[in-house]
Symmetry: C3
Subunit: 470 residues, 3 copies
Amino acid sequence: MDKMCTDALPLTMSSPEKQETICIFGTGDFGRSLGLKMLQSGYSVVFGSRNPRMSSLMTSGAEVLSYSEAAQRSDIIILAIHREHYDFLRELTEVLNGKILVDVSNNVKINQYPESNAEYLARLMPGAHVVKAFNTISAWALQSGALDASRQVFVCGNDSRAKQRVMDVVRNLGLTPLDQGSLLAAKEIENYPLQLFPMWRFPFYLSAALCIFFFFYCVIREVIYPYVYEKEDHTFRLAISILNRMCPITALTLLALVYLPGVIAAILQLYHGTKYRRFPSWLDHWMLCRKQLGLIALGFAFLHVLYTLVIPMRYYVRWRSRNITVIQVMTKKENPFSTSSAWLSDSYISLGILGFFLFVLLGITSLPSVSNMVTWREFRFVQSKLGYLTLILCTAHTLVYGGKRFLSPSVLRWCLPSAYILALIIPCTVLVVKFILILPCIDKTLMRIRQGWERNTDFSKSAVNGKSDI
Amino acid sequence: MDKMCTDALPLTMSSPEKQETICIFGTGDFGRSLGLKMLQSGYSVVFGSRNPRMSSLMTSGAEVLSYSEAAQRSDIIILAIHREHYDFLRELTEVLNGKILVDVSNNVKINQYPESNAEYLARLMPGAHVVKAFNTISAWALQSGALDASRQVFVCGNDSRAKQRVMDVVRNLGLTPLDQGSLLAAKEIENYPLQLFPMWRFPFYLSAALCIFFFFYCVIREVIYPYVYEKEDHTFRLAISILNRMCPITALTLLALVYLPGVIAAILQLYHGTKYRRFPSWLDHWMLCRKQLGLIALGFAFLHVLYTLVIPMRYYVRWRSRNITVIQVMTKKENPFSTSSAWLSDSYISLGILGFFLFVLLGITSLPSVSNMVTWREFRFVQSKLGYLTLILCTAHTLVYGGKRFLSPSVLRWCLPSAYILALIIPCTVLVVKFILILPCIDKTLMRIRQGWERNTDFSKSAVNGKSDI
Amino acid sequence: MDKMCTDALPLTMSSPEKQETICIFGTGDFGRSLGLKMLQSGYSVVFGSRNPRMSSLMTSGAEVLSYSEAAQRSDIIILAIHREHYDFLRELTEVLNGKILVDVSNNVKINQYPESNAEYLARLMPGAHVVKAFNTISAWALQSGALDASRQVFVCGNDSRAKQRVMDVVRNLGLTPLDQGSLLAAKEIENYPLQLFPMWRFPFYLSAALCIFFFFYCVIREVIYPYVYEKEDHTFRLAISILNRMCPITALTLLALVYLPGVIAAILQLYHGTKYRRFPSWLDHWMLCRKQLGLIALGFAFLHVLYTLVIPMRYYVRWRSRNITVIQVMTKKENPFSTSSAWLSDSYISLGILGFFLFVLLGITSLPSVSNMVTWREFRFVQSKLGYLTLILCTAHTLVYGGKRFLSPSVLRWCLPSAYILALIIPCTVLVVKFILILPCIDKTLMRIRQGWERNTDFSKSAVNGKSDI
């Protein structure tokens, strides 16, 4: 399913029209990898080094000269040097005047310096055209040709001609340049390769906390309680039973947390009577994390499905089922068929299957390539209509699972209700509030607010705007 | 898995080289959201309004002036006004002469007016350069920054310089401009955000009709029939058993319907002796819907798999299995192992698993990002060879499921055969006809027709063409 | 989920600004399809043919002239002619001078001629600007509009103005032009549509070989052995039991083979003391195939999951379980609950589920659209950290499955150990070597080598480079 490697071949072979020379300052790992890649792409490469005579290091085909000699050979100078050593460039101010300096540096920490490396370089060399590029590409990827992850090279710079030249080089190397505007963007570009799933951090910690809480809650109720009161060893439940309680509860709670911020936002809009007041920042952040929360919830739902489907294969379940049969035979009791039990068991399972099916559908539509292909109307239809239907089905699945035992006092252990009752709190709240919000009278007000109407401004004015403007 | 939000940041910060001023007519919701986004992206924004003194409405940073004053401040004027109010622009003809007018309007219905809004505007203001853009972006998306769905902005216009200017603005806002050509495309662009899965409509209705038919067919046979004749309450079957009969039957029928139009097309081509006669339009439409039909079939197959895997967990199944054991013990009858039953049961299951596996593979290759990476030869290999293999496996799965009971008269209830027999009609027809079509003699003729040969034109001419041309 | 067809509509309608004329030499299938598409996109089309009077062939709207007449009508001439007939162009040298010749030809075999068709054409017509394009698009796709697979048109040529003109035409037809550089790339472009999953070939053959080996290994142990010694007919095991042994073993072996080349590479780097010595080519090729190996392993794991989940539904399993119960009742033996068995059974299943879950996660992140959105750091985190965790979990799953029977002599049949023991050899080797490699002392050396340090060069020099260069 992947042609990347073979795709790269024609690109690698496509040589720039006349053999252009590119100068690289610094013979470290990244400098050498980049130089090799450029040689392969048909460029002629010259390295600038403090000790130009140690050319044994170099891959054949590239010259190693002193900094100033190397700089004279090319318009484009790539600085494969750490920011801390930019100072030495002061000596080369004259040679570098009017040249394109490409800053490829990265930092060790996010926001390590108040000023981005590229802006610092531009301040240091005001006569040169500084362009930020290549910092998101790894030396290893360049060398091995295995560009499985992103081939995107973010490029920014104040001089558009210089930027264009660098973007052409990027394209000739078989990479995808992305123009990010002026050097102001350099800070973001330098932070980019340092980040590790920033949008996933909050959802991850939240779901981990929920997991741990529900895990220990179930351990107390189902392992420690029977051990204390009945001296029974139920530790084997840790491996599947407890996990299969923790997963669906976490999944349902996370799914409800996907829809809770929307409901809170609607209440805030109704309360303030306008949509132009900014939400508190925690709500903004929460709303931006909804997709990630939903996908983690889908992961737990998937685990729940797997853990549920293996139930009939478990030793404990087979042992118990056999014993029940044996006892039935021994005691010669009859086992009448209960239609209501069949209904409860089947509808509980069926609701779960349908809920999971819609959940998987939601997950597929959130794949970047799929969501790129739908219009806004379609995206909102899927994410809002189908999303709420999923929440309703999954909540109903849990409610029917409870069935007759629901809130009966006999299930309390140390005053702790069954875990699935906790799982129902947030989803039911969200669904009830949402139900109130879509009552015609409230929905109408909310709709008008979302179309720009404001309660506190005088009505005639809004009417004027409302009529003619979009 | 999503960097969109963080990606947006550098783009947001990238300011246009000199602070450009953009004028927005209309202070409605969309106008304000767009203005705010432009301010954030470094533009200077001026609003044109009927009542310019009511500037309290505006987000800080933007001026509100009268229409003509505002228009004089910028080359680009964005019309955030409903089409019904375009008339007032006549008064501004002089001011707007030579300016770029950006039409962002949408209609309420598809094809609401015979002429697109942008073309109407161009007729109204012949001296201005009308560009259609931004209509596919929602105000809410602009405001929240949560551009999860498409960031694509379709742009069209007759003046290529004006179009280029607008596309630069789009790019600076962090969106992706897509050049759609001249203003003739405006109608399509205006209809685009109104559509709701147009390619899915026919497959959806078709599968819904099939679902409902098979559902009631099974209800009659398996719930009403035993109730009438044996007074047994089988309603609990509705929740899982009936659904698990409906899903595979619908899936198999839909899968066969994916391959049926190809077979019909081949027969038509053979019949007419040419590939240059157009197919009837229903066949064309059907062929374009095949991917959607296949994906819906995959959805039903997925549900069938889930409904099947939960069988051993159902109350009814456990109850029956226990009773059978008890009866076996009571009656002391032996239960000899039947190798043929084991073979039938295992091969039926195994065929289903392999069929489903290939079906999932087909589904994955139809993901846009995956199908974008394969060549035509590979795509056809997967969709045609693997597709037919899937159909064969799934049909065989159903045939073996029938096993010995197949067409035995005892399964007729009210003259209705088992539902799975209905499911086999279309797949078997498709497979038989396809088998005939790939017989060497017919396949050869068909191949020649598909390479441009025609039966009715005189042969010598075709030979000339066939030899030298592609 | 797919808007392609509707997307195409505005593009189809967008006409080039003035009605440009394009000439097509050759009235074969591809020429006619391309001509029709161009007519639909607003171009005026003229065909060049040997027998121009046979215009009945043509779709209405296009003229058919002699070659030289047709060529005079347009700057751009598309050659829909087989390479073998390029000779006749010599007669037209004068007419074609300075024109853009678009070579759309494909060959029948990869590397059929030593020189690409486009380069041959350029040599033949030195006065014309030869551009390679359109060869990756199928005639059928152009005609039906069902461009489900790639819309990418690779374009290359030595004259950048000519290339630009052709790319504009491509864009106007609703296709995506991709500039591949100079005519040197033509060979690759011509080979591209002929290839059938080249990166998948080695992984496919390898996994097929593993499959067949493990299949027959299990057949010998579990079907032939009991038949020879106990005269029992176990052939029904072929349908599910044997497949469900073959799948997990192949999956685990392939998964280990994904991580083995990385381990070998690390050992080679440690041995040579440098990262700049090239790996043997088999290792390079193996490393580029890792993604494909992993995805095939995921496929087998998926089959294993399905084959495992259907176990309780199988006739043989139900028959045996019933018999065990009956015997328990008959003999009145008690069946005490064994906590250790419950632990073994549950933890074995649980490890498998978690391993499969992570495996699916790895598979999703290798989707092109997802892996395009992650940074290098994130990609390596997922593929390396999560990948090894998956391998550990799956290996542990297999180890616990063995449980008490592991290596007990009673399971040997004809000196053959259980198949799962074979499955453990490579994974355990990889994990043990990897564990040694991440011991602090070795890891530190390896890290320095990967950052460019070399053991055999004198240290002071490396220190200089190491300090200042990236």
